[in-house]
């Protein structure tokens, strides 16, 4: 598959007053293949929005290379911008214009037929509110309008920053279905979101960023597999037998994490072996489940942002990975 987007060694440092500096991107790499829905994940302040804005020519990078749809950006952005649809961060529109006016003006600015305005309003479910002023819209409705504006030009690459923000559950599902349908029609979608359950369901691949560097990247299945611990959850008929059962399993060569109501077993024993080891010693298993990692736990583990009881984690307190060595 051809790469629709490729970023290599992207650097961006924000310089504030009195010479204060903050590295937003520190040699960031990213690769998105054509036709996939790609999740772009990271804790707050990790560099996601800076990356997306840099791609769209809004921010000037200090160093690095970016290729979008086979063309180097930002130099060639004007030539390919018609093939990119994007919403960056929260949807921002002029509050006194109606939804239709907002899209119609964008359509004019981008040489898009006015008929397309009604099509996208229908697509995002705003047909009946098209004449209402944007200031009367809820966050979710503004979000729909933002998606509509991104779809106006029928782009080949769709960049969505937090598109599900403020959407109701029905809206989230509609957005999920919409993205699947767009990808099925050959559109590449980059989705930045904190709703990791959604990302896991929608995305084919993910990139996780922390402190301006790539932590991991690959297909969702690969990322999950690479970070799963292959644990088996064991519960016994009588909770009082858990300690005894743990002893038997350790004797059989397993590593056991004993918790209040369950054992988490890691090691060479397969579920059938666990059942046998315990049954022959009159300990009967009431639950035997393979513990599979979900994207949320992998994300928290990789970015080291899992909440710790009694500690208030600060923004920017996330993992710093070693810089990637160019191949």
């Amino acid at each position: 598959m051809a790469a629709v987007l490729e970023i290599r060694g992207l650097h961006k440092t924000y310089r504030g007053a009195f010479g204060r500096e903050r590295k937003a991107l520190d040699g960031f790499d990213m690769l998105v293949e054509a036709g996939e829905v790609h999740g772009f994940l990271g804790p707050n302040g990790s560099g996601k929005t800076t990356t997306l804005r840099t791609l769209l020519g809004l921010i000037r990078p200090d160093a690095g290379e970016m290729t979008v749809l086979g063309r180097t950006v930002p130099q060639n952005l004007p030539d390919i911008v018609a093939e990119i649809g994007a919403i960056v961060e929260s949807p921002q529109f002029f509050p006194h214009f109606s939804a239709r006016d907002t899209l119609s003006l964008l359509a004019d600015a981008g040489d898009v037929a006015q008929q397309r305005v009604d099509e996208v309003l229908e697509l995002v479910g705003l047909r009946d509110r098209a004449r209402d002023k944007v200031r009367t819209f809820s966050l979710g409705m503004k979000q729909r309008l933002a998606v509509a504006s991104a779809l106006l030009r029928t782009p080949r690459l769709l960049i969505l920053d937090e598109p599900a923000n403020g959407l109701d559950p029905g809206g989230i599902r509609e957005m999920r279905d919409l993205m699947r349908a767009l990808a099925a029609n050959g559109m590449t979608v980059i989705l930045s979101s904190h709703i990791l359950g959604e990302v896991e369901q929608i995305c084919d691949s993910v990139t996780i960023i922390s402190r301006g560097r790539r932590v991991t990247a690959g297909s969702v299945a690969q990322v999950l597999a690479a970070n799963s611990t292959a644990q088996t959850r064991v519960r016994t008929e009588h909770p009082a037998q858990l300690a005894t059962a743990a002893g038997f399993l350790i004797q059989a060569g397993a590593t056991v994490d004993t918790q209040a109501d369950q054992l988490l077993v890691t090691g060479p024993l397969k579920p059938a072996d666990i059942t046998r080891v315990l049954a022959v010693r009159d300990v009967y298993v009431s639950e035997l489940t393979a513990v599979t990692a979900d994207l949320e736990s992998v994300f928290l583990q990789l970015t080291e942002t899992a909440p710790v009881a009694g500690q208030a984690r600060q923004v920017d307190e996330s993992v710093v990975v070693a810089p990637e060595v160019p191949a």
């Binding site: 804005r53 020519g57 809004l58 911008v81 960056v88 921002q92 529109f93 006194h96």
Partner: protein, 332 residues
Amino acid sequence: MSLVRAERRRFHKRRVTKVMLLVGVLLLGVIATGMWFSNHKVSDATRARAAAEAQRNYEEQQRFWDNVGRADCERAAKERSVDPAQMCIGPRPEDFRAEYYMPSSYDFKNNFRDMAMLWAVIMAFVGLIVGASYVGAEWSSGGMMNLLTWQPRRMRVLGTKLLIAVGAMAAWSALVYLVWIGIQWGIGTYRGTTAGMTSGTWQSFGLVGLRGLGLVVAGTAFGFVLASLGRRTAVAMGVLIALIVVTQFGLTLVLFAARVRYPTLYFVGSHMSAWMQGKTTLFDETSCDYSMGMCEPKQFDLTWQMSGAVFGAGLLLLVAAAMWQIRQRDVV
């Protein structure tokens, strides 16, 4: 062309544009209404009434002078050892002219230039607010960022917006000017006089109108560029207030205290006046020592070409700064 079309639509859809244009027109309407009621047509009967009133007043004053005034004056002169023939002159007929007793009457030919100045200043002020809000609100609402993801050529986007703002304001102001001439002509016809108009006068009014449009363009561009540099409408308004306070009040004190030659040369008002009136004469009070008696201060004629060059250079500099800034600065 599509960007031009979109920006033209956006400009005219904005509430501030509509409201401020309406405010400008209403202000001119109020002025015209006041002029209508405070001016009167002068007829032969009015002139006769004024002449009679002048004569009556003269005679009344003369009677008072003969009865009381002369004696009082001569006594006072004696006390001060001044020649009474020099000090006690009494009322003179030339001080009681009929025109002093005529109702106010609008002379279109001689008064219209002042009215054109008023139109230009009001429309330039409207342009300043509209221009500042047009780009300032775009920056603060995030609309500019949205637009730049559609049109990444930043200088082209800002340049198009600037041209649309000044172009539209110039077009609207030209229309208002034509209506304003019509209204003033009407006031002259029914509440004064339109006598003495020649093709040369009309040509002169045309040139005044063109210079007025220049002022509108400058005001609009000034507001636009300041708001663009500060990325907020409030920045333009803040700079404007600061300019008025610091330069026009603070500068007055400093320049006069430092006895700078032609201090009014540094005031925007002087340049606006020179631009609109063709020229304005400035006086150098430092050239005179009044303790030595009467003195005629040195004069300097500030022409519309000089003021035009000052306005042009200032605007060019600001536009260049705004263009450079949008090209270089991150959009965050």
